[in-house]
Symmetry: C2
């Protein structure tokens, strides 16, 4: 389906002229009653309750079946009991309904049989040319079209789009945020996705000109590659805030019982989000906090925060929070300090950053506005964090005025610690409606700013970066060369390649490996020693050999012929049953050990991983991951993301590692994943930085 067509196909769903509510009810406590109330409240014009027994519900004429409705019906919302749902869908299809939203639950999320019924419903719908949203969802909220959700949300339209695999998330978010003055373009809860999926709606919202920001909750998706490509494309234009539920194993178990979606591995999702610049959140409150920041604030040019705080204690604590998040709290410019000194009352002797307004901010509220105005005009800070001890309209006006005067070029977030939590909560819509992001705790304000910086940096990095095609031109030739080793292994019925074979694959892709030879007898061994030279490494070889180090089958740093012969004899003896070839390779010295790997994810396909190598890999448990193919920029970010990445710079008398070669290796490993479908896993560990040059010292390729 092309992009144009998905927008053309899905957009009418959000603008139905007529809606039937199958399972409408007048009985309090029923969902059918709740939705009746909402449709009556919004005053949706061509709205038809359908109920097998009632002739009228809450003063509105009801129909026994959808077929009895006189005119055409664009959308049906199905609330029937589980076992009556298939019939309802068939009736909708017969009526020529275009969109069927199935709110009823008890299908694929509870049993395989339920999955079967879902498929029957899709077939039935398709016959009539209808599409299904759900089952097990709350469908569509669209203020502009007066399409309501069960919870009472405002119908002021706006530019935020919601996509959710949890009906509650979509419903609660639109209710809470719209009550605080945030307007939505569309919200979609897609439930079990028997037909239309979250990915479809993501694509739609990406194209939708009314949607400027996308926020959502997802547990798993069915088409990883398309989803990933869409994220990458859309985040270039619109911020995407996502909460991924089921990141942990137990969370994923809970997710399976919830919507029946494949929850996938947490690490892969994290890599996907980073690669695509998705703003990843981990709770409802965090999602809301990010929404308030991204919807209302411009992106900052740098990471320098100016802090304007009423009480001194919060000034100190807020500075800590900003620094913890990688923001800086620099000195103001001389000019700004002069202006602060002249403008603020003399009791405020602190013109340093943070500005500590002391009790003066209580007695003379306008000092907060003065400080904000002066600092918005100061080149030494990129954004402001205000902590206020009075809230209300007065403060709102003071800050809104200062922000307006500065033409909204820098983010300003406000923390209110005033009177009571009740009054703070009342202040939230007041400030949000005036375009000021507001929080009840300075830690949340600081975090919101840090997320804005994160996106600003993502955009700056992506601006120039084009998808690298490096090395692609020769891919055919390389693949041919490489196939030999893999073909041979498969012919022999093996799924693991030996270290030497694995390195042959790497070499075919231009990845630097140790100089080495595999030998089978004493004569070849002695000849090879002369060629490789000393110091060298002698290892047992062959596809059946694993855990070499633990078994004493690796002898490192051999300096003399005698040591070499001893090692040869010892390995031959220990290897015993094994076919017993021996690998002689150059000894690579270097303290900096790295790890690069390839794995295949069921949803996203081949993924490249990077981390520190050797025992670091296990100690740090800190690996960056990206979905292949990866660009040079992706590779650079993978290296920077890992703790200890700075170790690759000049360090303790060692020269800086050759990062461009490392980047090249990462890109090539991604290409191997794309081009060699028989390769299931690659583990290059360690890659040792020898001088400046990274060299693959040990490697393992596992086949499918």
């Amino acid at each position: 389906m092309t992009k144009r067509s998905i927008f053309t196909e899905l957009d009418p769903m959000f603008h139905p002229r007529s809606v039937a509510l199958i399972g409408a009810s007048g009985k309090p406590g029923k969902v059918g009653r709740v939705l009746m109330d909402r449709f009556l409240e919004t005053g949706f014009r061509e709205f038809y309750p359908v109920n097998p027994v009632e002739q009228e519900i809450l003063g509105t004429k009801a129909y026994r079946t959808i077929g009895e409705i006189p005119g055409p019906v664009d959308m049906a919302i199905v609330l029937t009991p589980t076992d009556a749902t298939l019939t309802a869908v068939e009736e909708c299809a017969a009526k020529g309904v275009k969109t069927i939203v199935i709110t009823s639950a008890g299908f694929g999320e509870t049993s395989p049989q339920g999955k079967g019924v879902e498929q029957e419903m899709v077939r039935a719908a398709r016959k009539g040319g209808a599409r299904i949203i759900g089952p097990n969802c709350v469908g569509i909220y669209c203020p502009a079209s007066k399409l309501p959700y069960p919870l009472p949300a405002s119908f002021e339209p706006g530019s935020v789009g919601v996509i959710s695999q949890s009906g509650f998330f979509a419903d609660y978010l639109t209710q809470v945020a719209s009550a605080n003055g945030i307007g939505f373009s569309k919200a979609i809860s897609c439930g079990n996705e028997s037909d239309l999926t979250a990915t479809d709606f993501l694509e739609y919202l990406g194209e939708d000109p009314e949607t400027k920001l996308i926020i959502g909750y997802l547990e798993g998706i069915k088409d990883g590659k398309r989803f990933h490509a869409l994220l990458q494309e859309i985040t270039r234009k619109k911020p995407i805030i996502l909460w991924k539920g089921g990141r942990t194993e137990a969370g994923a178990r809970a997710a399976v019982s919830h919507t029946g979606a494949m929850a996938g591995s947490g690490a892969v999702w994290e890599g996907v989000f980073k690669q695509a610049g998705v703003i990843s959140v981990r709770s409802f409150e965090e999602a809301l906090d990010c929404l308030y920041a991204f919807h209302l604030q411009p992106l900052p040019k740098g990471r320098r925060v100016g802090i304007v705080s009423g009480p001194g204690g919060t000034a100190v604590g807020t500075t800590d929070m900003c620094l913890d998040l990688g923001l800086t709290v620099p000195r103001f410019s001389l000019r700004a300090r002069e202006r602060l000194r002249k403008t603020l009352p003399p009791v405020i002797n602190a013109i340093s950053n943070p500005v500590d307004l002391t009790l003066a901010s209580l007695v003379t509220p306008r000092v907060t506005g003065d400080a904000v105005r002066i600092l918005l005009d100061d080149e030494s800070v990129d954004m402001l964090l205000v902590v206020a001890v009075i809230g209300g309209e007065q403060l709102r006006d003071i800050i809104a005025e200062a922000v307006a005067a500065s033409q909204k070029k820098k983010p300003v977030v406000v923390t209110i610690m005033a009177e009571s939590m009740q009054s703070v909560v009342q202040d939230v819509p007041l400030f949000l409606r005036s375009g000021i992001s507001v929080y009840s705790d300075a830690a949340r304000s600081a975090k919101a700013l840090a997320r804005l910086v994160e996106r600003a940096q993502f955009r700056a990095r992506r601006r120039g970066a084009l998808r690298s095609m490096a090395g692609r031109k020769n891919e055919k030739a390389k693949r041919a060369r490489n196939l030999d080793v893999i073909t041979k292994a498969l012919q022999e019925g093996r799924i693991t390649l030996s270290e030497h074979e694995s390195k042959a694959c790497l070499r075919a892709y231009g990845i630097p490996v140790t100089r080495e030879r595999e030998v089978h007898d004493g004569r070849a061994f002695r000849e090879t020693l002369a060629k490789i030279g000393f110091p060298c490494v002698i290892k047992a070889s062959g596809p059946a050999v694993s855990h070499k180090t633990e078994q004493g089958l690796v002898h490192l740093d051999i300096r003399t012929r005698q040591e070499a012969i001893n090692a040869f004899t010892q390995i031959k003896k220990r290897a015993g049953g094994n076919s017993g070839s021996i690998l002689v390779q150059e000894m690579v010295h270097g303290v900096r050990e790295l790890m690069i790997g390839l794995t295949r994810d069921a949803q996203f396909g081949p993924c490249v991983t990077f981390g520190l190598g050797g025992i670091f890999t296990e100690i740090l448990k800190d690996i960056s991951l990206r979905v292949a193919p990866i660009t040079k920029q992706d590779a650079l970010e993978m290296i920077e993301e890992v703790r200890g990445g700075h170790l690759l710079g000049a360090y303790r008398g060692m020269p800086a590692a050759d990062i461009s070669t490392l980047v090249e290796i990462l890109v090539r490993v991604g290409e191997m994943g794309m081009e060699q479908p028989r390769i299931k896993e690659i583990d290059i560990n360690p890659i040792i930085v020898s001088g400046t040059k990274p060299v693959a010292v040990d490697a393992l390729v596992v086949l499918e």
Copy 2:
């Protein structure tokens, strides 16, 4: 001052019979007016406004000076302008006032002259036998005595004690929490601490039988050792929740301008808090969240959480959050599952953990209570996290009943995601007053539970642990032996010891070091080679040698006499100008490298540090720290706290490291810090685990 005496001395301050407000005012906007209002509201009986011009303020007779008040005055609150404050204090002393709370600011926090005035005020007060709280503070809030703060807090007494170096923190916390039904015993804002300090009040609250929990905000303290000892003692009986402001360098700069307290290094404070089991928080909201948990909930027996969730999406996300925090979400017992199946309506088919109540929890609210009651009675979970989509009195009663039936043996925290933020905020006092900790986000609920687990584990660890006296008996002898090396260095005007000398110090304290000899000429070198054997290490030695590795002055893993002689010649050549002694030492092989250090903190004294060694130290930037003397339990916790500590177990064919020797080394380094005042720093890096045994391979001792 003994413990008894500080309680006896300070307790009367919280129960004054008569209070004078010097600087009382009737003018709106003045602090003097705000406090007038509060005292009139509380109906404090013997309350005297003092104002140089007014004869009556808000209907209450005012006095020109404190001296004119007829009866005795126990407490004076001084709000006068900065330059009138000393006089006011003198008048208080003359009147025989016992406690002088100085709210006025502009003293030590702004200038050294201000510090001088503070000292004069203390002298003046002492003459009359008075003690000072402040200046630059809001003093004491004590509901039982009707002593108010400027912000309107409730006067229901309770058992929470507050100690704060930020007036706003104390004032705002008591206001917000008391409005939510949390009762306070006493709150103290101690400002610049010209006389009485936070440490004094910490000791007081520790002894105070009315205080069961202490919460506070601190930026720096003046008597680290006493403070640390008090924390360790008090946390055995009462939980202490502390927010340390000025953890980061920039935060500390802000702190200095704020209260003039020494903010100290963040890492040392973190170590102090961990060692003493303080619940460390980093924002106001986090402090409040912890208060609501610790004040109301029992401690859990383990880390197993049962999750009862209305909406499915939040069930999944909440599971993730619990797992992220190290909690577990186990299967319920067979019995509990049977009971859930029988009790809950059939639509709830999920009897797994999390229990997903679906929409049933909206239609039939009592199902939440049923699930809670059954799970509180289940042995397979230690605590419950409830996520509710309806709040209000009905839910409160349902949960309160279930909790009461279980006799409050397990923590239960509730997350409310209902209707609007306004309604959630209204629910907070409703639930807290019924003893149920309540949050607006599941992430905060999970975090609260994790903090309870943290304290439960701290108590379990401390229960059996006695302060270890291991190795103390021989300290005299050891010290004598050790003094030689240090004395010699000091006589020679050196402040660094050579590696060999440093190891002599370690050896004197029983710390295992490499076999090694220092030699000065070729003959001794050759003789030594035979004694040390191969493989060995040859290094340049002598106090002036530093950065040996970077300078090529270290030759590792030397296997033959010829290699040794080459190394000797090369080092002699490179060392050039240096006096040129050579260290020959055994080569210690081992992948696991550790670091142990000693530093001296200006406030807390000698501190022991532990981390992974070699390049790990810099990569991880992850070091645990404790203040000396440390117990074996402290040492064990230091090892466990460090990322990669698990590396010390059996690993990749290597045996588990000898932890008890490692613990012993840490304890001994602490003793060195206590007993050797001339030692400023020790850096043992690396300690290599050779087989199972940790051996100090390189060491540096720096003298004062």
